[in-house]
């Protein structure tokens, strides 16, 4: 069992419960994330004192105050940068970045793409409510074009980021998407994120009841969700729909939605999801896929192997320590060109 690892089942949700008032609005999707993570942590096999939550600023970023772990509520946009230091300094810790769409896609965009590029082994939980919640309702880089918000009285004119697309563009090795209203899907996916070696990005489509209520409704609504979401499972064909009779296949190099049983289509024609494919072209297509033509991809879109920054760093450190003759600072100070001067 690796350093810092314990048997799963040793801990329970209670071990992470903090005696404090959770101050999100009633009905906010963030409550579900908190609850799911408290349920998931005992199953990660990480010692409770090895869990660190780092967040930026925003409603979502208050997360660390609500869970019994080591926590760092830092600066707006900087959670990934701080977490990079935490994890690089001590790779034994289980590090979680709790962040919002403003926090990570607006002010924190640069740290977001760089932690992904380096593939530092942290789990980024992106609370995507497509709005700035804490500052009371300005548009964010993920707000749907045309939305009227406090800073876009005439409708936004910016093309929104797709967090998944940006993740791929930044060399991402893990991307998953979940909705706040499906705790099972969320827990399942978050555990996969935790298990992934490298930066895991989990986009939570989250409802802000106050400033962007129902922004995800066309995806998450009870009546439409089965037809508008496809829950991807590695190794399984891409099937969805209330009737589970729809699927996705490649028509030469373009994806398309097909109905099983129509035009001679069978399950065999569908794409079998390979989250681990080093080539991310299909993953790139999957994260960009959307309504009305396609369902929205849920679950783990990509989980590919690559080198992990902090492991390579510590390998280099160990290698250097093994090879060096300069074991201490005293050795260093006396190495190379030195001159003895004797008083006349």
């Amino acid at each position: 069992m690796a350093e810092g690892k314990i048997e799963t089942g040793t801990l329970t949700r209670q071990d992470f419960k903090l005696d404090t008032t959770v101050k999100w609005c009633a009905g906010c999707g963030a409550h579900a994330v908190l609850s799911t993570i408290m349920n998931a942590l005992p199953e990660t096999g990480v010692k409770k004192e090895n869990v660190v939550f780092v967040s930026g600023i925003g409603c979502s970023s208050r997360f660390p105050y609500y869970i019994n772990a080591y926590g760092f509520h830092s600066l707006h946009g900087r959670a990934s940068a701080i977490a990079s230091g935490v994890k690089t300094a001590n790779p034994n810790l289980s590090v979680w970045v709790m962040t919002g769409d403003g926090d990570s896609m607006a002010i924190g965009g640069n740290h977001f793409i760089h932690i992904i590029r380096r593939n530092i082994n942290v789990n980024i939980i992106l609370f995507n409510n497509k709005i700035y919640g804490l500052t009371k309702g300005q548009y964010s880089p993920t707000t749907p074009k045309g939305s009227i918000t406090k800073t876009s009285p005439d409708g936004t004119i910016e093309n929104p980021f797709q967090p998944g697309e940006l993740t791929m563009g930044a060399q991402g090795t893990f991307f998953a998407r979940v909705v706040d209203s499906d705790p099972k899907m969320m827990k399942d996916t978050i555990l996969k994120a935790a298990a992934h070696r490298g930066t895991s990005v989990v986009e939570v489509l989250l409802n802000c009841v106050i400033f962007a209520n129902d922004v995800h409704k066309s995806i998450t609504g009870k009546d439409v969700r089965d037809d508008h979401q496809i829950f991807l499972r590695h190794g399984e064909p891409m099937i969805f729909g209330k009737e589970r009779n729809k699927g996705i296949r490649y028509n030469c190099n373009k994806m398309e939605v097909v109905t099983i049983g129509e035009n001679g289509i069978t399950e065999k024609d569908l794409i079998v999801h390979d989250a681990t494919d080093p080539d991310d072209s299909t993953h790139y297509n999957l994260v960009r896929m959307g309504l009305p033509e396609f369902p929205v991809a849920m679950g783990v879109v990509r989980a590919a192997e690559s080198t992990v920054f902090e492991s390579l760093m510590h390998d280099q450190v160990q290698e250097a320590q093994k090879k060096t003759k300069l074991k201490t600072v005293d050795d260093l100070l006396r190495s190379g060109n030195t001159f003895r001067i004797d008083d006349e």
Partner: protein, 620 residues
């Protein structure tokens, strides 16, 4: 062959090497310095180079220089003006004429003194044939041609051959300074190691230069600078940036912590990052971040998990780090921020020196956000103040800003190598696992620091963050009185550091007519000027501040001893402004210079004499 030169014994000599950015003048300079150190001279060096990498050859903008001051007497600056100038082309000559002493020896590569080169250098007339070099001992050496001749036999192409010209110069200087040429050979062997042909070619050129110098008339007088007095022990030639890096490594070892540097390259601080990146063998981790903000944030993250965390930068980078320094202040995590000052504002003069980030270091943050500010004052003592910065950060649980500057960072001096066992102990305020009394903002009653519970430790889980926290418990608090308490606590904690730092030392009499006040990197110039004047019997003393915030406890008492006080800074008067506010009872005269250059000893002496003679207009 051979002549018997007249040997002049000198207390000190200043040599300036100048040429194109690609001419290897920095190398010749280092070689000359090393040899000087080897034979026991005291020394101080300073490179000066343009902000472009290789500005067009032969232009004044492309001139790169290296100044070396060696001494039998103790030397504290690279020298105001040179006794010997090596100018590889007209541009190098033009750029340096105002920095050489009357009667100086000027060695030029005559092969580059032609019309094409004059024009490039912006000369209107041939400087060798007007009277501009009158009074100097000009040595017109055919350096390029003789080098090519010599190098030919080694089959080097012309470009590579020309790169060995600096060894011709080196050879001439070995002769001029009566040095054993074997030292030069050793340097080359070490430098080029396995590249045998290069070693041989360079050696041949070195000898050619030596022989040439021996032959010619113009160098009939040579210098002898005896080993330095009053220095004894094992030394090395240290630049400020190297010393800073090593001081941090030493502090980490003493504190029993691993060093973590989060940084982003920026002139003139980059070498610290480059050096730490080489020190993985001591367990150090250098994280080259995507920008300055990520640099400091990664360091804050590392500090949270128990590392000796450092970030290094220069002025514009410090500006970018402002917000995050505030985070370190409110989370009360130890952090060393090294700021190697350069010419501002904005990008300013990136390769030139200045002391103009003092106010930014003190106050460049939102809210009431006190941090410790200290400054190194010589290239080598960057080691000590980097060490102290780490010690204060860790023991007092607070960010510490260490100010150095371009002049210290790139300049070098001889450094008496210490043993780490003789350095002060560093005791981080750690907490035992499962200590039930632990609370995040419980404080040590003496120092007022909070304690450092490290993620991974059992039974100490807690949360920190940028929102104001309740005293002791560390819960988020919006309570008015609590905020007042916490603001006051953070301030008091930093003020209490005054109990843990040394008192000011007065150089000279503790009372008198004029107290010269300096801080940081101006020490070399100020001490030279002041001690020179002291020798002439003037009533003048010097204090050089290394601790800026808080100030040493005896500051007021020191100030009280003098009739006049003058604050000398490479800025428009930032420390003077600070002192006026803190010590309203005293008048502070000012001497300021913002030219990207250090003080010259001559200008300082003139200024001080003027004041002592009463001819000074206050605060002009």
């Amino acid at each position: 062959m051979g002549k018997n030169p007249k040997i002049v014994q000198r207390e000190d000599v200043v040599v300036k090497f100048a040429g194109d950015s690609g001419d290897g003048m920095q190398l010749t300079g280092s070689q000359f310095s090393d040899t000087s150190a080897f034979i026991g001279n005291d020394l101080s060096t300073f490179p000066d180079y343009p902000s472009e990498i290789r500005a067009p050859q032969g232009t004044v903008a492309g001139v790169s220089g290296f100044q070396v001051h060696i001494g039998h007497k103790e030397v504290t600056t690279p020298g105001d003006q040179a006794d010997v100038l090596v100018a590889m082309n007209p541009a190098a000559l033009k750029a340096n004429m105002k920095w050489i002493k009357p009667g100086a020896t000027v060695i030029i590569d005559i092969d580059n003194f032609d019309n094409k080169h004059y024009k490039k250098a912006g000369y209107e007339e041939d400087p060798l044939h007007d009277d501009s070099l009158e009074g100097y001992n000009v040595v017109k050496a055919p350096i390029t041609n003789l080098t090519r001749d010599t190098a030919k036999q080694f089959g080097l192409d012309q470009k590579t051959a020309d790169k060995t010209r600096n060894q011709f110069v080196a050879g001439m200087l070995y002769w001029l300074f009566n040095r054993d040429i074997k030292l030069g050979e050793d340097f080359l062997k070490d430098k080029f190691k396995s590249k045998e042909n290069l070693v041989k070619a360079n050696m041949a050129v070195l000898h050619a230069g030596y022989n040439y110098a021996e032959t010619i008339e113009a160098l009939s007088t040579t210098f002898l600078v005896d080993p330095v007095k009053n220095k004894k022990g094992l030394f090395r030639n240290m630049t400020g940036n190297l010393a800073t890096a090593w001081g941090l490594l030493a502090a980490a070892e003493k504190a029993g912590l691993k060093l973590f540097l989060g940084s982003y390259p920026i002139t003139p601080a980059t070498e610290i990052l480059q050096e730490i990146a080489k020190r993985k063998h001591l367990g150090a981790v250098a994280f080259q971040a995507e920008d300055e903000i990520a640099g400091i944030c990664s360091a804050i993250g590392a500090s949270f998990v128990g590392r000796l965390a450092v970030t290094t930068t220069s002025g514009p980078g410090l500006a970018l780090k402002s917000e995050a320094i505030g985070l370190a202040v409110i989370t009360e995590l130890p952090l060393v921020i090294v700021n190697v000052q350069r010419g501002g504002p904005s990008t300013g003069l990136p390769t030139k020196t200045e002391q103009s980030d003092l106010m930014q270091a003190l106050y460049g943050r939102n809210g009431e956000s006190p941090a410790i500010v200290i400054a190194a004052s010589t290239p080598a003592n960057c080691f000590d103040y980097a060490f102290m910065a780490a010690k204060l950060a860790v023991e007092h649980m607070t960010p510490v800003i260490l100010l150095t500057d371009s002049y210290l960072a790139n300049g070098s001096e001889l450094w008496n190598i210490p043993y780490t066992k003789d350095l002060p102990e560093i005791t981080p305020p750690l907490v035992a696992d499962n200590d039930e009394t632990y609370q995040p903002y419980l404080r040590d009653p003496e120092k007022m620091n909070r304690f450092w519970a490290i993620p991974g430790q059992e039974g100490l889980r807690h949360r920190v963050g940028g929102l104001e926290k309740e005293d002791v418990t560390g819960m988020v608090s919006h309570d008015p009185m609590n905020h007042q308490v916490m603001v006051t606590n953070r301030q008091k904690k930093v003020e209490k550091v005054a109990d843990y730092i040394p008192q000011l030392e007065i150089i000279g009499e503790p009372t008198g007519d004029l107290l010269v006040i300096g801080w940081g990197g101006t020490y070399g110039g100020l001490i030279s000027a002041v001690t020179d004047l002291q020798k002439t019997g003037l009533s003048i003393s010097l204090v050089q501040f290394n601790y800026i915030h808080p100030l040493p406890k005896n500051t007021e008492q020191v100030f009280a001893g003098f009739n006049k006080r003058i604050v000398c800074e490479i800025n428009m008067g930032q420390f003077a402004y600070h002192l006026r506010s803190k010590f309203q009872q005293y008048e502070f005269l000012q001497h300021n210079k913002v030219q990207g250059l250090p003080f010259f000893i001559a200008e300082l002496k003139e200024k001080f004499i003027e004041i002592l003679e009463g001819n000074h207009q206050p605060n002009e």
